[in-house]
């Protein structure tokens, strides 16, 4: 029974990994661009949720939306002020832009919020539910289900709507898309908004069940790399499956090997993937 509980807990956490990783894979798929600050977006989402609870009050719906909107706005601002100018520059500028951004956001968060771990005050999502003998915190259950729903929604947005087709058109061929009357800049800004918004809401969801400090951004950023490498660069559906798998692996290795090994196992998997299948599960070579 304990094993089942570990597996379900891992899958629910993995769903949140899937949600923020889908943001990273979207940017990669759109622009062939790696965002080293993506984990920091998740971390900021957690703090926005905390501030929303403290200042505005209200339930998960409110702070979840607050985190999504705030981070989406940040993503768009970052696109227009920074990313747009470096995408056609040298590789050094592309890597350093978001790498420096990650440092800037991380240490600004340290400065403002201090290095102490914080958590959301008890809210509507505290308490546990008993599902056929498996005890699950309500917060984790709701967060996991919302994360899966949103990831699938993002996948459907990309594959089934006009906006999605426009995004994919820009990803496919910027110039051709422009000739079809699509504005690439707007679409890429939208992608950054969606990506950062997904990270923000994932952070808010995670904040309902786990304490955090500014240093979690680095961990989440690396987890997102692993998920995207496993699922395939550019595939939202791939990162959904991969997120669930990584959550499962992490929970299992934390339970059977010890908590300190959970990150070692996951990063080790990343290195193994680079060697064996760099295009990921669902990616194109």
């Amino acid at each position: 029974m304990v094993a089942v509980q570990v597996i379900v807990g891992g899958l629910l956490l993995g769903a949140i990994y899937a949600l923020f990783s889908s943001g990273l894979t979207l940017i990669w798929g759109m622009m062939n661009f790696i965002n080293f600050a993506h984990g920091e977006f998740v971390m900021l989402g957690m703090y926005v949720a905390l501030m929303a609870v403290v200042w505005i009050g209200g339930g998960p719906a409110i702070f979840g939306i607050a985190a999504a909107v705030a981070l989406a706005a940040l993503g768009v601002v970052i696109y227009f002020s920074l990313i747009r100018h470096v995408t056609r520059g040298p590789m050094l500028a592309q890597i350093l832009s978001t790498f420096g951004l990650a440092l800037l956001l991380r240490y600004t968060a340290f400065w403002i919020f201090s290095a102490n771990f914080v958590s959301l005050p008890t809210n509507a999502l505290s308490g546990t539910v008993n599902l056929a003998g498996i005890y699950l915190p309500i917060g984790q259950l709701v967060a996991g289900l919302v994360a899966i729903t949103l990831t699938i929604a993002l996948h459907l947005l990309l594959t089934r709507t006009t906006v999605g087709s426009k995004l994919l058109a820009v990803a496919e061929d910027r110039t051709a898309a422009m000739l079809m009357g699509i504005r690439p800049d707007r679409m890429q800004a939208l992608a950054w908004g969606l990506s950062a918004g997904a990270a923000g809401i994932a952070g808010a969801l995670m904040a309902t069940s786990y304490p955090w400090s500014p240093s979690v951004g680095e961990t989440f950023g690396l987890i997102a790399f692993v998920v995207v490498a496993l699922g395939g660069f550019g595939s939202v559906l791939g990162s959904l499956y991969a997120g669930l798998i990584i959550g499962l692996i992490q929970a299992a290795s934390a339970f059977w090997l010890g908590a300190i090994y959970k990150d070692i196992v996951v990063y080790g998997l990343f290195v193994a993937l680079l060697w064996l299948r760099p295009q990921g599960l669902m990616g194109k070579a």
């Binding site: 990669w28 062939n32 661009f33 790696i34 080293f36 002020s81 920074l82 100018h85 470096v86 520059g89 040298p90 590789m91 050094l92 500028a93 592309q94 890597i95 350093l96 832009s97 790498f99 420096g100 951004l101 990650a102 440092l103 800037l104 956001l105 991380r106 240490y107 600004t108 340290f110 400065w111 680095e218 690396l222 790399f225 692993v226 490498a229 300190i260 090994y261 990150d263 070692i264 990063y267 080790g268 990343f270 290195v271 680079l274 060697w275 760099p278």
Partner: protein
């Protein structure tokens, strides 16, 4: 005068300035700054070979630095050997690790390499932090008092300064040598367009691999020097991300892919770092890294070529001839 301002004259002038610095500024404070400057310049120059010249941006070079820092102290702790014995071991391990990372990632786009470097560095940092054999989270200690010069444990700063200066000379001379060789042209060709380079017959993967191995070896030596100087190493000061950040920012600030770029970067950054730590007090290290992040973003956004390129663009040519660094 004309002789002194020729390229060779400038190098001689720079060398003389570096040789005389600790004698002119003889207080421990200035010598300490000098040593920190040299160490930053060595590791950033090592990074520059693969990150600057070849354009393969590593954001996890701390893995080589950490290996180089751990091996001498590990050999000392285990067998009581001189730290010097650990330096070649660090170099060999670093080159092996470089091959391990380069082989799969150099087939793919440059982003994979950057991602792999940061992930592997972090993997090693966490792993070393849990491994009792190498001191786990506590780290390793070097010789407290020297048994002889071979322990590389000196009382004053001066011996370190000249050892570091000699190593910097070797790294820069090697870089200058390859800069003019076919290998150097290969590196710059790969940087400007990998596809074009390949189509002209440049052995792209092999060249990138060699550049990474050379860079890893020098970075490892920088780590060994750091360990000898501080006599202590732990996972964060060896493999931490901020170690990589320092290499990247020093090289990129001065000018990535320029021979003396890292030197210029260290010349700007090390005093800046000391100043911010003094202004903001002991708790200022966080603010220092905010500043680092800001500088990196500004370089990427406005001046990827660093201060060197800025100099060449902003300063009119006739002034440049007279005052060029």
């Amino acid at each position: 005068m004309k002789n002194i301002l020729s390229p060779r004259g400038r190098v001689v002038l720079l060398g003389a300035a570096l040789l005389l610095f600790p004698i002119v500024f003889s207080s421990a404070f200035y010598r300490d700054i000098g040593v920190a400057f040299l160490l930053a310049a060595i590791s950033a120059s090592a990074w520059n070979i693969v990150g600057g010249y070849a354009g393969q941006v590593s954001v996890g070079h701390s893995m080589f630095f950490g290996l180089g820092a751990y091996m001498p102290l590990l050999f000392y702790t285990l067998f009581g050997w001189s730290p010097i014995a650990g330096i070649p071991a660090g170099i060999v391990l670093s080159i092996a690790l470089a091959v391990l990372i380069g082989l799969p990632t150099f087939r793919l786009s440059g982003h994979y390499f950057s991602m792999a470097t940061i992930a592997v560095a972090e993997l090693i940092r966490i792993f070393v932090g849990t491994w009792d054999f190498v001191g786990a989270a506590v780290g390793l200690q070097g010789p407290a008092t020297a048994r002889g010069w071979w322990d590389l444990t000196f009382r004053g700063e001066l011996p370190y300064y000249y050892i570091f200066l000699a190593v910097l000379g070797i790294v820069l001379a090697t870089t200058a040598f390859i800069e003019r060789r076919r290998f150097g042209f290969y590196l710059r060709a790969i940087k400007s367009s990998e596809r074009a380079a390949r189509s002209l017959g440049v052995p792209v993967r092999r060249t990138k691999m060699q550049a990474l191995a050379l860079s890893a070896a020098f970075t490892s030596v920088a780590g060994s020097l750091y360990a000898a100087k501080t006599g202590f190493i732990d996972p964060d000061s060896g493999f931490g991300i901020l170690v990589s950040v320092q290499m990247v920012i020093v090289a990129a600030l001065g000018g990535a892919g320029v021979l003396f770029g890292p030197l210029l970067g260290a010349l700007i950054l090390i005093p800046l770092q000391i100043a911010t730590n003094t202004w903001f007090g002991g708790g200022g290290s966080g603010l220092t890294y905010i500043l680092y992040g800001g500088i990196i973003v500004l370089i990427a956004r406005f001046e990827p070529g660093g201060v060197f390129e800025l100099w060449y663009r902003v300063v009119p040519e006739r002034w440049r001839r007279a005052y060029a660094p």
